[in-house]
Symmetry: none
Subunit: 411 residues, 2 copies
C-alpha cells in the first residue's frame, strides 16, 4: 500500500566528521543503532546537502530548505522566525527580533549577556508588554519569552525597515550600544528609534520588577536589560497546505524550528518534558508524532540534543544520545501507510563545535522505495545509497512523489 502520510524526522546536528576519541568513527558510526540501521536496510539512503554543496547551513535555513522552501528567496533573517517560535503571530511587514534577557551593572556595563541563564521569564515579559508604550512613535509591539534567557520582539507600524543594528555589545564588560539604522532610509531610522525606546522603557520596567529584586536578594544576576538583534521583516511564505495540499504539525522544542514550522503553516504540538536538550522526553515526542499522524498528513519532528552535544564537543555523549534516540524510535516500526524520512539538518562536527557543510545522511523508508544495499544509517554508509547526493530542496518533492502527491510536469 502506497504511503499517504509523511513523517519527516530531523535529527538536528546528528552528522559529524570522524572523531579521534571514537577511533576515527563518527558518533553515528560508533553508536549502536539497530532501529536506524534496520530502517536504512529496508529503505533507500543517500547523502544530502541541505542547502548546497559547501554551504554551511543554519538550523533555520536548513529546515526551510528541507520543507521545500528555498531560503534564498524566503529567508528574512532569524528575528521573525524566532518571534514565530515564541508564539508571536507574525504578519507580513512586521519586524521581528531575537532577544536576550541580560544583566547590566550599576555603571551600565553588560555583566552577563544571559542574566545567569535565567529561566521562566514570562512574568517579566508580561510586565514589559504592559509597561512599555511605543504609540507615540506610531508603533505597536508584541514581546514574548522563549526558552531560558531568550525572548522575541515584534514591531508593527507603518513603514518600518529591518536594516538596523543591535544593542548587543557581544562581549561582557562593554556598554550596550544604540540601535542604529544601517541605511539612510527613513523606515530604518523609525525602527531604530522604536528599538531604542523599547530598550529604555523595558529597562525601567525590569529594574523595579519584584522577580529581579528577589534574584538580587538571592545573589543572582537580575534580568534588567533586553538585548535585541537579528532584525528581519516578515515576508510572505506560501502556506504549506496550499503548496502541498497536506495539513501538517511540527513537534520541536527548539524555538527556531518551531518558528519555521509556524512560518510555513504547520501547527505546533507541545510535548511534556521536551526540552531541546539531551534530557528531553524522546518517547513522548515519538508518541506525539504517531498521534499526529493519525489526524495529519505531514509531521515534522526535530530532535535537538545531538546538536547540543556537538556544540559542546562531546563526541561520546553524542554517540550515547544517538543510542537513546534509536531506542525511542522503535514504535515507528509499527507505523503503516507512513513514509518515514530521517535525516540531519546539517553536520555539527564535535571537533569544531559548529555547523559544517559536510553532507548529512538521509533515509526514506516506506512502501515503494527502491531498497539499496546500505545497511547502516551513518554518513559514510549512506554515501553509497541509491539516492546518491541530493539537495535539501529536492527532499519534499521526492517524498511527495512517493505518496503520490506530486504534480505532473507535462503531459
Amino acid at each position: 500500500m502506497t504511503a499517504s502520510r509523511i513523517l519527516l524526522l530531523v535529527l538536528d546536528g546528528i552528522s559529524d566528521r570522524p572523531c579521534r576519541e571514537l577511533g576515527h568513527l563518527t558518533p553515528l558510526q560508533a553508536a549502536n543503532t539497530p532501529v536506524l540501521d534496520r530502517i536504512a536496510r529496508e529503505g533507500i539512503c543517500g547523502i544530502m546537502d541541505t542547502i548546497g554543496a559547501g554551504v554551511r547551513p543554519g538550523s533555520d535555513t536548513s529546515h526551510l530548505s528541507l520543507l521545500g522552501y528555498d531560503p534564498k528567496s524566503c529567508y528574512t533573517g532569524r528575528g521573525p522566525l524566532e518571534a514565530l517560535g515564541c508564539g508571536i503571530r507574525m504578519e507580513p511587514g512586521m519586524i521581528g527580533f531575537r532577544c536576550n534577557y541580560a544583566t547590566i551593572g550599576s555603571d551600565g556595563r553588560v555583566l552577563d549577556r544571559r542574566a545567569g541563564r535565567i529561566h521562566r521569564t514570562q512574568p517579566l515579559s508580561e510586565a514589559i508588554e504592559e509597561g512599555v508604550d511605543l504609540s507615540s512613535l506610531g508603533v505597536s509591539f508584541v514581546f514574548r519569552s522563549g526558552a531560558g534567557h531568550r525572548a522575541a520582539l515584534a514591531l508593527k507600524g507603518n513603514r518600518l525597515g529591518a536594516n538596523v543594528s543591535s544593542n548587543d555589545p557581544k562581549k561582557e564588560g562593554l556598554f550596550p550600544m544604540q540601535v542604529r539604522p544601517l541605511t539612510e532610509r527613513e523606515e530604518d531610522r523609525r525602527t531604530a528609534d522604536a528599538c531604542n525606546e523599547f530598550v529604555r522603557q523595558s529597562k525601567e520596567v525590569l529594574e523595579k520588577h519584584p522577580l529581579n529584586r528577589e534574584r538580587i536578594a538571592r545573589g543572582e544576576p537580575p534580568a534588567n536589560l533586553v538585548l535585541v538583534r537579528g532584525a528581519g521583516e516578515m515576508g510572505h511564505i506560501e502556506p504549506f497546505g496550499e503548496r502541498y495540499g497536506l495539513e501538517g504539525s511540527v513537534i520541536s522544542a527548539a524555538a527556531l524550528v518551531t518558528g519555521i514550522g509556524r512560518a510555513v503553516g504547520l501547527e505546533h504540538v507541545s510535548v511534556e518534558g521536551a526540552t531541546g536538550s539531551m534530557d528531553t522526553n524522546l518517547e513522548g515526542k515519538v508518541r506525539a508524532a504517531i498521534g499526529e499522524l493519525g489526524r495529519r498528513e505531514f509531521v515534522l519532528m526535530n530532535i535537538k540534543g545531538a546538536d547540543e552535544a556537538s556544540h559542546d564537543g562531546l563526541a561520546r555523549e553524542k554517540a550515547a544520545f544517538i543510542e537513546r534516540i534509536d531506542a525511542s524510535l522503535q514504535p515507528l516500526e509499527e507505523l503503516e501507510g507512513v513514509l518515514l524520512v530521517i535525516c540531519g539538518d546539517h553536520s555539527t562536527p564535535c571537533a569544531i563545535r559548529e555547523h559544517s557543510a559536510d553532507p548529512v545522511p538521509v533515509v526514506i523508508h516506506g512502501d515503494g522505495v527502491r531498497t539499496d544495499g546500505v545497511a547502516s544509517f551513518d554518513e559514510i554508509s549512506c554515501a553509497n545509497g541509491g539516492l546518491h547526493r541530493i539537495s535539501g530542496l529536492s527532499l519534499m518533492p521526492i517524498a511527495l512523489d512517493l505518496i503520490n502527491k506530486a504534480h505532473k510536469y507535462g503531459a
Copy 2:
C-alpha cells in the same frame, strides 16, 4: 587538528578516456602512482564537472570555476587573462588580446601563423612598444611577449569596446584580415581602428628589426606580423583575499593559468626550470608550493605537461609523465595542517587530442574528511567516492568549510 591552509593542485588535462594503446585503461589507471593512490585511500574522492555536466571547459574557464568564480559572470574572453599572464597590469575597462608572432610572405599572405615557433621575442616586443604610437586615436597600449611565439596586447582609452573580430585568417596561405567592429557601436569601431593601426605600425617596426634580418639570413621565417585575437574587456573580479579571507599564491608556467591567478589576486611565484611542458622542474614546483604554504593560506599549483602529451595524442608518454608527477608529490605527504585538494581542470583524451567534458577525478585529503573506500586516484575509481559528482564551483566552498573558513548561512 583541523587544517588551516589549502593546496589546490591542478593536474592539467590529466584525465582521459580508456586508451586502446593502454589496453583500454586511462593513462591515470595505467600509470603506477603510489603517492596519489595513498592520498586517495586516506582522503575523500569524487568526480567533478569543472563547469557543468557536458560542458567542455577551457583551461581558463575551468580554473576560474575551481577558484570559485563563476565563469558565466566573470569570464570576459581569453585576451584579458592572457594579458595578465604575460605580466600586463590589466585595469577594469582595458581591452586585452592574445597575440601571435606570425610570418607573412612578400605577397602579403600568412606563411606561418607561429613564425617558425619563434622563441625569445622580447626584443621584438620592446621595439614595438617603443615604435608604435596610437595616441592620435586617443589610445595607449601595452604589448608583452609570452611563451614561444605568443604575446599579448592591451589597449587603454576612453570608451573602447571589445566586440571586434581578429586579423588572424586561421589558415596559412591566406591574407591577414582587417579587424572589424562586430556591432554598430562607436566603442567597437574605435577598438577595431586601434587594432588595425597597431598591426600596420608594428609590421613596419618588425620588418626593419635586426633580429628578423638575422632570422632571414639563417633561413628562418621572420616574425613580421602580429595576429591579434580573443578581444575581451577586463572586468571587475572580487579579489580572492576579500572573498575568502585568504592570501594566496599561484605556481604555474602556463600564462593563461598565471593570468587567472593574477586576475583573482593571487601572487605569481616563478620556479626555475618550470616550462609548462613535460620537461618541467616538477620537484622545484612542489618545493616552491611547500615554501609558499609556510607564509600563505592558499596555493594554486598547476602542472601542465599531461595536457600537452594529450594534445599530441601520446597516451604512453602521458602515463609516464603521470608517474613522474606522482614521484614528485612525495614531499606533500609530510605536510601538516594543510588541506590537499588534487584534481584535473578538464579531461584531454589522447584519442581526440582536445579537451572533453568527461568529469575529472578529485580527492580531498586532510584532517576531518570522511574517508571513503576509494584506493586509487583515477577517473573510474573516484566515481565511487564519498564526494559523488560535484561541480567545480562547489570545490572552494567545500574546501573552505573543511578549514573552518566558510560563512554560516542562517543561524
